[in-house]
Each structure stands twice: as structure tokens, then as C-alpha cells.
């Protein structure tokens, strides 16, 4: 599956529904974007345009807000989301290695990319998620994995991928299981 096909199909009625529920004045900008993002995982251009048409919010404010806050993203995401915590406690206990080993397993080499080439997973760094005593921590689709080393992160990812029928395009330390699966398919 290519990355272009990760673009979401936006349902105008849904967007209108959020505007009706949340409001159409300028103070609704943040919650409206949050509603869109939680539905699609990112902010599709079409949904943003619908907000501009249906509210008092102008393009400068809407895009200004969308690019200001860390929560929002304008690019599509993979089918699953990995969030690696980079709070202080996670940093001093080696959170960087989680990224190294996860990216290796996902075959993401370009430092500017964050999504695997087959659209399976997106890795995002997040500021503290507040589980500092269990550092380093990551979340896969919202489920937390505590006290990780780089290799543990990879093992959890391999397990998750198997349970979801996803293929990891990169290499893992688990041996050849993955490539064997890949050949089968």
C-alpha cells in the first residue's frame, strides 16, 4: 500500500456536525481541529477548507493554530501510531534508542520521514506523557509499554505487527521471521 493512498476520505456531513456541536466562532478553532485530527489522525486539507467555509475562522487563524500546536499534523499517518515519549526521565534513560531500533525495524532511513513505506506505522516523538517512573515509555495505538530498552521496543512492535497482520519493511533483531512472512505473502 503506497503512502498516497493514506489520504483520508473526508465526509462533509461529519465536519458540519462538529461545527454544529462545537461552535463556529473563533474560539472554536482548537476543538474543531482536535475533532478532525482524532477522526482522521491528521488534518486533511479538505476538512480544513470545510471549516473555513462553515465558520467565522479565517485561513490565517486556522492554519496558524494548526501549525502552532504539537498535537496537529498536516500529513497523513500510517495505519498504526507509535508514540515515543521524550520527557526528561525517558531521555536520560535512553529513549533515543527506542527510535533507532523502531525506525530500523520499519525501514525508515530518511530522518525527515516518520512513516513506513508500506503505510503500516508512523513514529511520533511526544513530550512527556507523565509516566516518568516507568521510563522509557512508548505507546502503540494508545497502549503503553513501560521500562523499555531499544530491543524491547522492537520486540513489542514485531508482536503488534503480527497480531495486526502488518509487515515490517525494515530489519529486526528477531531473526528471519519477518522476511519469511513477507515471502509467503
Amino acid at each position: 500500500m503506497s503512502k498516497a493512498s493514506l489520504e483520508a476520505t473526508v465526509d462533509p456531513e461529519k465536519v458540519q456536525g462538529w461545527i454544529t456541536k462545537i461552535g463556529s466562532d473563533t474560539s472554536a478553532a482548537v476543538p474543531l481541529l482536535q475533532a478532525i485530527q482524532s477522526e482522521y489522525g491528521y488534518l486533511p486539507r479538505k476538512a480544513m477548507n470545510l471549516v473555513l467555509e462553515g465558520t467565522e475562522i479565517n485561513a490565517s487563524q486556522l492554519f496558524g493554530v494548526a501549525t502552532f500546536y504539537a498535537q496537529f499534523r498536516l500529513d497523513p499517518v500510517g495505519r498504526h501510531m507509535i508514540k515515543v515519549c521524550h520527557g526528561t526521565a525517558c531521555h536520560v534513560q535512553g529513549a533515543d534508542r527506542l527510535n533507532t531500533s523502531l525506525r530500523h525495524a520499519l525501514g525508515i532511513e530518511n530522518p525527515k520521514e516518520d512513516t513506513a513505506s508500506n503505510g503500516s506505522y508512523t513514529i511520533e516523538n511526544v513530550a512527556c506523557i507523565g509516566c516518568c517512573s516507568l521510563a522509557p515509555v512508548m505507546l502503540i495505538d494508545g497502549e503503553a509499554f513501560p521500562n523499555l530498552k531499544g530491543a524491547d521496543a522492537q520486540r513489542h512492535l514485531v508482536k503488534h505487527a503480527k497480531s495486526k497482520g502488518e509487515i515490517l519493511p525494515g530489519q529486526t533483531g528477531e531473526g528471519d521471521d519477518q522476511s519469511a512472512d513477507e515471502k509467503e505473502k
Binding site: T26, G64, Y69, T88, A89, G130, C132, G150
Partner: protein
């Protein structure tokens, strides 16, 4: 025999992350007749998953419970096995254990209910005198001025970090003109390494609501906002449930407790911007704008959200308020030091044996917190420093661990009390890398309004990166110091004014580490990738090839099961440390 059994599970974010749902499921299978209760995080995060089992008038609190060791407690409670000492935190039979000391050395006021009740149970909250303070205020006929006076006697200072006296702030808003007035609860806990507000919001949301009610009554606010980070889904959920229940019980809405005081709260989800901890930036965010600070005055107490008088109080401050009104300001003021009254909650993390949430009286020394509560170093290596106050704070070296917890005493070290993040570092941490970490954080989080904060922090980060990479010079250190002063002076809000603190305090106390990076090209902590090399110790290597399999750049080669053939190609190696992590016989040296 499990008929009268009550099993209490800690189901805060930490507990869930550590695997509480799975343990609960297994326990329900083993003890189907038992009554299960879920409570918030008691703060002993290092012992999660925790389970309290009460039966036959006795109780046992178990720690670090997992799928593997669970059968031991199951057997014990069925009378078929010995008491698994290693898992016991405390029981109704035993005296204090080293583990339970973590709790007994604390003074829990803000955290009085956290871990003791089901956070979303109005009934349990009422049973612990919840909402009795607002009842005392309204039914007892206290005037708003009397409420402010009580808080003045308590002398509580804002727990968000700045330490401004709460009663003074309330007084400004009380006297301000304009309707409606707003009361905002600041739960945008952005400090990486801090989770006090998360625990309060998810573990005892009703106390925060009660604090908001009292504050609103005192300043005459009719509208409230609870600004809570989107990264805290459980806090948002529990707070919303508590708000609904409070509304149903008549504590929120019109004519509260039959008086003419009306107040209601809306939740605003923070979208991830550290600068929104600054009050004027937070207000801009509530109004739907980019969270950029503005010049004060006018202060929010006079002109805040939607240009109306607004008070912004931190979650922990608000959680203390009901206790103060119920027990009297004087009782609160008896705890602590002369200029810092009461208690402070800290999130203890990093290289510490027992990490978690601790609430201690002001005046306790940092060493007492680290040793008597935290149990000292986790690794056994000596502790080197403690970082207080996150990106706005600084590092306090081991030689100053006898500093007391007090706003002024901590400020004198160059660090700040901050909101309560306390990250502990041992000898294997690099202070230059830590300074770089925080500068990278503030640089990303700078809103961009002030030039020195926007560009200055970037230049500082570049200099620190250069030093960490091993290409720094003595001149870079001098430039760094000069820039630090400029950024402090030329920034509008707290973010920029305090951003250089991590650099200045590490330069002050750990200058020799900077010099080691610059002149000896050596990282004493063994952290900075540009200054270490990884080599395989032939005499320890077993030739298992696991390092090769985990190496992300294929820098390691050798023949399977032939130890003396394995080498790391230094030209390819990125010093990520994955090989060290996976090597079982510790055959890889990073130095």
C-alpha cells in the same frame, strides 16, 4: 473464603501502563466472589502493578505484581503458600517496611485522596468529607473576603512554579471590574519529567473541582475553564465524569447549595504547547488562537480571557484549597518554613530506586527526599545531581543536596522550585547532554515572538550540540554564557527568561564536564555519541551474533560462534548503543 474479600487495584495511567488491566482480569478469574475496587495512583509508580487485598479483617498491599508472580499471592490468600515477602509493601500485621517508608515519610495534603478512593465515585468522595469545605463556606455564611483571608493566613504560594501568593492574586480579581469573571484551572503540565497534575486530575478530580468552586466564590467568578493536556486522556475522562456528577449533585450550575452563587466549568483540551503554561499564552489558547504570550500589564486578574477578569490557578494549588478551608489557614501555615508554607508535591524520576509521586512538607532537605523516600540510587552508582523545575529550572549538585525545599532556598542555587519535576542523575549521566536536551526542548517550544528566544535558543542549542559532538571550543563556552544572559534579558515571558537556566546551572556546578568535552574530547558520563567508541571485548564475546542482528547500520561483522572474529567497523558505527543493550555477556565497551 474469598466472599468478604475486597481487592483494590491502582488504576492510574502508571498502573495501566505497567499492566494493571491484565492483573485485574487474572485476579477476577481466581477470586470470582471478591469485590473489586479501582483507585487512582497512590504515587508508588516504581511498585506498579499494586494490589491491595483485604479479607477477614486483615489487609495486604502487594507491589510489582505481574502475570508470573501472581500465583504466589493467589496461593497465599488461599492458605496454600507462604507469605511472598519480596512482594509485600505493607500489611495490617507487619510494621513499617523499607518499602512502606515511601508513604509514611510524606505529608499528604494535596494528595490526601489520591490512591485512597475511586476517582469517579461521588459517594466515596463525600465519605471522605468531600465538598464539605464548599458547604462550610456557603452554608456557614463566609463572605468572599473571609475566604481570601483564610487563604492569606495559610500563606500558600502558587504551585505552578512561580510561587506568587494565591490570596493576593485572588484579591486583585475580587476588586476588578467586569462581568463575567473567569476562573481557569491550569492543567497544562508541560514540563517533561513532571506528572503531579496528571495524578491529581485523574486520581482525585473532585478535589480540584471543589478548589475551583471555592476560588470562584472568592473572586466572584461564574465561569470556569479546566485546561487539561490532551496527552492525559485518563485525566480528561475522569474530570469530565466528576464534573457531570458534581452538576447532578448541585455543586456546579445555578444557585449552588441554595445560594445565589452560580458557577460552571468547561473543559479545554490543550493541544500541546509548553508555552501555554504561561498564563497569557494559555488565555490566547482558550480564545482559539496560537498560544502566544502578551505584555503584562494588564494582568489577567484585570483583563484576562475574552478581556474579562480572570484568575489562573494551578491544579495542585486548587487541590490544597478545600483542605485549607476545612482545617483553617493556620493549620496549613504551621507546616513548612517561614516563607514557604505547606507541602509540595514532586514527581521523582530518573536514576532513583523508588520513583513516583511524593508530597513533603516544605523545609525537608533534598537529600531526605532522595534517600529516605526515594531510597537513593537505583544503580548503586553515586548520585550526581537532581534537576528541578524542568526546562525552566536547573541542576542542583550532590554537594548541595542539604538545601531545604523552600522557594527562596532553591532559587539561591540557581534552580527553581518549578512545578515539581525532580529528575535524578547518577554518574553515568552527562550534564552537557542534559543541558542540550532542555535547550532543544525550549527551542522547539519557543513561540517565536521574541527574537532572542526564537533565534538565541537555536544558537545555544547549536553550540551545545557542537560541544556534545566533540568539536566545541573554549570560545563556544564563552559565547554560550553570553547568549544565556541575553536570552534571559530580552524575552517577554517566563519561557525565554528561564530557558537558559539549565545551561547556566550546569556551567556553574559542572564546568569541568564542559571542559572535558571541549579540551579532552571526552564525555565523562559516557553518553555523548560523538565522544565515545564502541568496541567488542574479545575475551567476553561468545559470538552469538545478537549485536549484529540489532545493529541498525550493519556495522558489526563476524562468524557465528567464533568469538574472536567479531569487530565493529568504526567508520559505520553511529554509537547508538543498541549492541550494548542486547549483549548478554557485557562484551561491548562504550567509552
Amino acid at each position: 473464603m474469598s466472599g468478604d474479600m475486597v481487592i483494590t487495584m491502582g488504576e492510574g495511567t502508571c498502573g495501566i501502563a505497567a499492566g494493571a488491566p491484565e492483573v485485574t482480569k487474572l485476579l477476577k478469574e481466581r477470586f470470582p466472589e471478591a469485590t473489586f475496587k479501582a483507585v487512582g495512583c497512590i504515587g508508588m509508580c516504581h511498585l506498579e502493578v499494586m494490589v491491595e487485598i483485604a479479607t477477614g479483617g486483615k489487609s495486604w498491599l502487594w507491589g510489582n505484581v505481574n502475570k508470573k508472580n501472581l500465583p504466589k499471592i493467589v496461593r497465599f490468600h488461599r492458605g496454600q503458600g507462604d507469605l511472598p515477602e519480596a512482594m509485600l509493601i505493607r500489611s495490617s500485621d507487619t510494621r513499617e517496611t523499607e518499602r512502606s517508608q515511601y508513604l509514611t515519610r510524606q505529608t499528604r495534603i494535596a494528595l490526601r485522596n489520591v490512591g485512597e478512593l475511586n476517582p469517579t465515585s461521588m459517594e466515596q468522595f463525600r465519605a471522605r468529607d468531600g465538598y464539605s469545605a464548599i458547604e462550610k463556606v456557603i452554608k456557614g455564611g463566609m463572605t468572599p473576603e473571609q475566604v481570601i483571608d483564610e487563604v492569606r493566613i495559610a500563606a500558600i504560594r502558587g504551585r505552578g512554579g512561580a510561587g506568587f501568593p494565591t490570596a493576593v492574586k485572588w484579591g486583585f480579581a475580587r476588586g476588578a471590574q467586569g462581568e463575567p469573571k473567569y476562573l481557569v484551572c491550569n492543567g497544562d503540565e508541560g514540563d517533561p519529567g513532571a506528572f503531579m497534575d496528571r495524578s491529581l486530575l485523574e486520581g482525585d478530580p473532585h478535589s480540584v473541582i471543589e478548589g475551583m468552586l471555592i476560588a470562584a466564590y472568592a473572586i466572584g467568578a461564574s465561569k470556569g475553564y479546566a485546561y487539561i493536556r490532551a496527552e492525559y486522556p485518563l485525566a480528561l475522562k475522569h474530570f469530565a465524569i466528576a464534573m457531570d456528577d458534581a452538576r447532578k449533585a448541585g455543586f456546579l450550575g445555578h444557585n449552588i447549595l441554595g445560594s445565589n452563587f452560580s458557577f460552571d466549568i468547561k473543559i479545554k483540551e490543550g493541544a500541546g504547547a509548553f508555552v501555554c503554561g504561561e498564563e497569557t499564552a494559555l488565555l490566547a489558547s482558550i480564545e482559539g488562537q496560537r498560544g502566544m504570550p502578551r505584555i503584562r500589564p494588564p494582568f489577567p486578574a484585570i483583563q484576562g480571557v475574552f478581556s474579562k477578569p480572570t484568575i489562573i490557578n494551578n491544579v495542585e494549588t486548587l487541590a490544597n484549597i478545600p483542605w485549607i478551608l476545612k482545617n483553617g489557614g493556620a493549620a496549613y501555615a504551621r507546616i513548612g518554613t517561614e516563607k514557604s508554607r505547606g507541602t509540595k508535591v514532586f514527581a521523582l524520576a530518573g536514576a532513583i530506586k523508588r520513583g513516583g509521586l511524593v508530597e513533603v512538607p516544605m523545609g525537608m532537605t533534598i537529600r531526605q527526599v532522595l534517600e529516605e523516600i526515594g531510597g537513593g540510587s537505583a544503580s548503586g552508582r553515586p548520585l550526581k545531581a537532581v534537576q528541578l523545575g524542568g526546562p525552566s529550572g536547573g541542576c542542583i549538585p550532590e554537594s548541595l543536596f542539604d538545601t531545604i525545599i523552600d522557594y527562596d532556598a532553591i532559587n539561591a542555587t540557581g534552580a527553581i522550585m518549578g512545578s515539581g519535576g525532580m529528575v535524578v542523575m547518577d554518574s553515568k549521566s552527562c550534564m552537557v547532554d542534559l543541558a542540550r536536551f532542555f535547550l532543544e526542548f525550549t527551542q522547539i517550544e519557543s513561540c517565536g515572538k521574541c527574537t532572542f528566544c526564537r533565534i538565541g535558543t537555536l544558537r545555544m542549542k547549536e553550540l551545545l550540540t557542537k560541544i556534545c559532538d566533540g568539536s566545541g571550543t573554549l570560545e563556544d563556552i564563552a559565547t554560550l554564557e553570553e547568549l544565556a544572559e541575553r536570552v534571559k534579558d530580552a524575552s517577554l515571558c517566563g519561557l525565554g527568561q528561564t530557558a537558559p537556566n539549565p545551561v547556566l546551572t550546569t556551567l556553574k556546578y559542572f564546568r569541568e564536564e564542559y571542559l572535558a568535552h571541549v579540551t579532552d574530547k571526552r564525555c565523562p558520563g559516557g553518553v555523548c555519541k560523538g565522544l565515545i567508541t564502541h568496541t567488542i571485548l574479545q575475551d567476553k564475546c561468545t559470538g552469538c551474533s545478537i549485536c549484529d542482528r540489532y545493529c541498525p547500520v550493519n556495522a558489526i561483522t563476524g562468524e557465528l560462534k567464533k568469538p574472536n572474529t567479531w569487530v565493529i567497523d568504526q567508520k559505520i558505527c553511529i554509537n547508538c548503543g543498541m549492541c550494548v543493550e542486547v549483549c548478554n555477556p557485557d562484551a561491548i565497551l562504550a567509552a
